[in-house]
């Protein structure tokens, strides 16, 4: 699965996801990348996110809507997208015992990344700097 969230100069947030699904899935199975609120969600007044991982768990937990809702609540208390993303990924992993991952932007352009698998390549670009990583704790920076 791949997923992207972007906010343009007008503050318009868009989220998108695309996937081939799980290897050996049943023919006709539709995964979370096609389900708004599960594999992706965006609200320009709050932020947006995209998810990857075990699609059925992502759909059953309405993962991305849940995250944007959490970001809305946490913004009022001054907390960042990163904390909301970690909380939501930890809760979904604990509840469904499957691996998931999310990248998110809040409406101020701050980002959040969390995943419960060994690796999830991610990349974030703002103000001429590219941040990226794949394993837990990685956050490399380079100029673009």
């Amino acid at each position: 699965t791949v997923g992207v969230v972007a906010i343009d100069a007008e503050g318009r947030c868009t989220a998108g996801s695309s996937s081939g699904g799980g290897s050996g899935k049943m023919a006709g199975r539709v995964g979370s990348s096609a389900i708004a609120g599960a594999g992706f969600y965006a609200d320009s007044s709050i932020g947006g996110c995209v998810a990857t991982g075990h699609g059925e768990s992502i759909m059953q937990s309405c993962l991305c809507f849940n995250l944007v809702d959490q970001m809305s609540l946490q913004a009022k208390s001054g907390q960042l997208a990163m904390l909301a993303v970690k909380n939501v990924v930890e809760a979904a992993t604990r509840r469904f015992k499957k691996s998931v991952g999310i990248v998110a932007l809040d409406c101020d352009g701050e980002f959040g990344v969390a995943f419960s698998a060994p690796r999830m390549p991610w990349a974030y670009c703002r103000r001429g700097k590219l941040r990226f990583g794949a394993e837990s704790g990685e956050n490399y920076v380079k100029d673009v």
């Binding site: 969230v5 868009t14 996937s19 708004a36 670009c125």
Partner: protein, 158 residues
């Protein structure tokens, strides 16, 4: 505000050496191109479509040309997009033989009153648009590595 973009390339359960590094490089390049697009005035909808299209064309990612096979040895793709300003959504599910499913999802969002198209209706919708179509089964034949990864056992998710 400052344009900003973030992307992921899917979760991985093991480090696959050089292929993993190539995946990170490809992801970084796609994000930089998407960032350049929004910095040049493109709306975020276009930047997201463009960035995902680049990744769909890259066989390192499980999307588009790099997709894994289903139990029948076919490639069926899902894609979706949401415009956070209008709150409109467009998605396609289990679509076959389409070059860029994210583009079709964008058209569902922008040109229809619906949110999700699947099956014959999605194919009919695609046929009426300028979305590049592929010969039947070409995605399944494209990438031999997908055959190597083909798991014909029942996945946990089914």
């Amino acid at each position: 505000m400052d344009p900003v973009i973030i992307a992921h390339g899917g979760i991985e359960f093991r480090h696959s050496g050089s292929s993993t590094s190539r995946k990170q490089v490809a992801l970084n390049n796609a994000v930089v191109q998407g960032y350049a697009a929004i910095c040049n005035g493109k709306p975020s909808v276009e930047a997201v479509e463009m960035t995902i299209s680049i990744l769909e064309d890259d066989q390192h990612f499980n999307a588009g040309y790099g997709s894994v096979f289903n139990a029948d040895g076919e490639v069926e793709l899902d894609a979706g997009m949401m415009n956070g300003t209008t709150l409109k959504v467009g998605s396609v599910g289990a679509i076959k033989d389409v070059d860029h499913p994210i583009t079709l999802a964008k058209y569902v969002m922008e040109l229809t009153e619906h949110s999700l198209l699947v099956g014959k209706g999605a194919r009919k919708f695609a046929a009426g648009l300028k979305v590049p179509k592929l010969f039947r089964g070409s995605l399944a034949n494209f990438h031999l590595q997908s055959r190597d990864r083909w798991d014909t056992g029942t996945p946990e998710s089914c």
